[in-house]
């Protein structure tokens, strides 16, 4: 491992102190400023129980890929395209009923470059849309039950984390995840995955991908808080989850989930 456990803890303590200071300042400022913008939507803190939900509105996503970039920068994820905590897929359904899916570089550069659109030129498209993907933080996570050393587990908030000091790199969890949300970090040789930006949500902030989403296609919050965006959307819109037949009970809900998305 590149960082020893001792250094890891030391850094952690420093970070925690910094985090507390930062949180208090920001909290104070918020009260003073009383700014009301889309960004000031915060997670009710502290989080109790497993009531956090992530909602993705497929009808809103524009495929800009800012979320993918933010995730990689925020969480120190390797920039190569085969390592992703979150990514954006593009679904294109032609009039002949064919479904084409792609996700160039995980969508990190968006979908506007010419080489990404060549094969869609002249295609008779019935409909097309983007589907952002991330760890579903399943209530019944298959990845957790298969880990031979219990290095991956659900926190009390229901977020699935990987203990980098315990993971042996067997990658059974990578096989067991039906959503392809896990990968082996090539630097530490341990498995990595989306944490819903655990270090942010525990400070009352939004995950980085939600933070940067320009159209509000990604929403995050407490389903038990009636004023939160997610509880409002879940109340008013029909939501669905990916691969419900597998019984994993995802905590990531999708609005406008099209048939054939998996």
């Amino acid at each position: 491992m590149l960082i020893s456990r001792r250094d890891f803890i030391k850094g952690g303590v420093a970070g925690a102190v910094g985090g507390v200071v930062l949180y208090n300042t920001s909290h104070l400022m918020r009260t003073l400023a009383e700014t009301r913008s889309a960004q000031s939507l915060k997670v009710a803190s502290p989080i109790k129980g497993r009531s956090l939900r992530f909602v993705v509105d497929i009808n809103k996503c524009i495929g800009c890929g800012k979320c993918v970039k933010a995730c990689k920068l925020e969480n120190d994820v390797p920039l190569e395209p085969e390592f992703n905590r979150t990514w954006v897929e593009r679904y294109t359904i032609t009039r002949s009923g064919e479904t084409l899916v792609d996700s160039p570089n995980g969508g990190i550069d968006g979908f506007t470059a010419d080489y990404m659109n060549e094969k869609y030129k002249g295609l008779d498209i019935r409909k097309s849309f983007f589907v952002p993907k991330l760890c579903n933080q399943c209530e019944k996570p298959p990845c957790v039950s298969v880990c031979p050393v219990a290095a991956t587990y659900a926190t009390e908030e229901g977020v699935i984390l990987v203990d980098r000091n315990a993971c042996i790199g067997c990658r059974y969890c990578v096989q067991a995840c039906p959503y392809g949300a896990r990968f082996l970090d090539p630097r530490y040789k341990v498995v990595d995955k989306c944490t819903w930006c655990y270090h942010r949500i525990t400070k009352g902030l939004l995950p980085a991908c939600v933070e940067v989403c320009p159209v509000g296609a990604r929403m995050f919050g407490d389903i038990e808080d009636p004023n939160s965006k997610v509880s409002q959307v879940i109340r008013e819109r029909a939501v669905a989850v990916l691969k419900p037949e597998l019984g994993t009970e995802p905590m990531v809900y999708y609005v406008g989930l099209e048939k054939g998305v998996r």
């Binding site: 700014t35 524009i62 933010a70 506007t112 315990a166 933070e211």
Partner: protein
């Protein structure tokens, strides 16, 4: 049976030593404090990770002008760090934030794609604006359609940047015959810089 009991005794002794060694050597220091799987320790480690994207509430503390025009514009749903990039190190250490002002940076969201929601503002980048930077006409902090264009008042050549033949918005053909001293002798500028 006696010979087997003896052999068994030897083996059990070996196994015992083996297990004691296993138990003593690899037990981590945090075992006692955090229990068998040491999950709480690891959860604390994850919670203490440094942030790259800052608390968005902080931006307004210094950048009130831009924040103000942004906060009731069409771009108010676009967070500062979406375009300006992660800002935690800017907050902590004053590291300058870099911003990509190229057409491509705007195109990532606004170029026309069949996959985007219909009601989202999109343009065909090849047909629109030539090679002019988007911010020439569209203020990124407070965009409007049609754009409210900020016109520099001084100079004939400034006007021609956009209004010459083949430019962004060419003047009508009959103008060239008149050849006045400057555009402003006839045209007034709606909004000047």
């Amino acid at each position: 049976m006696k010979h087997l009991v003896r052999a068994g005794g030897v083996l059990i002794a070996i196994l015992f030593v083996f297990f004691v060694l296993l138990r003593v050597i690899p037990v981590p220091e945090s075992f006692n404090a955090y229990g068998f799987y040491r999950e709480k320790e690891n959860t604390a480690e994850w919670a203490a990770r440094p942030m790259a994207y800052a608390d968005p509430i902080l931006c307004n503390q210094c950048h009130q002008t831009n924040h103000g025009s942004w906060s009731d514009s069409k771009h108010k749903t676009v967070s500062c760090e979406n375009c300006h990039g992660p800002g935690q190190s800017h907050v902590d250490k004053g590291t300058p934030v870099k911003i990509d002002e190229s057409r491509e940076a705007c195109a990532v969201c606004h170029s026309k794609l069949p996959s985007r929601p219909r009601d989202f503002p999109q343009v065909d980048m090849e047909q629109h604006g030539g090679k002019t930077e988007c911010k020439t006409c569209h203020s990124p902090h407070a965009p409007a359609i049609p754009p409210v264009v900020l016109h520099p008042e001084a100079g004939y050549s400034n006007c021609l940047l956009c209004h010459s033949a083949g430019g962004l918005k060419p003047f009508p053909a009959n103008h060239s015959a008149n050849s006045p001293d400057s555009c402003t002798s006839c045209h007034s500028v709606k909004r000047s810089v």
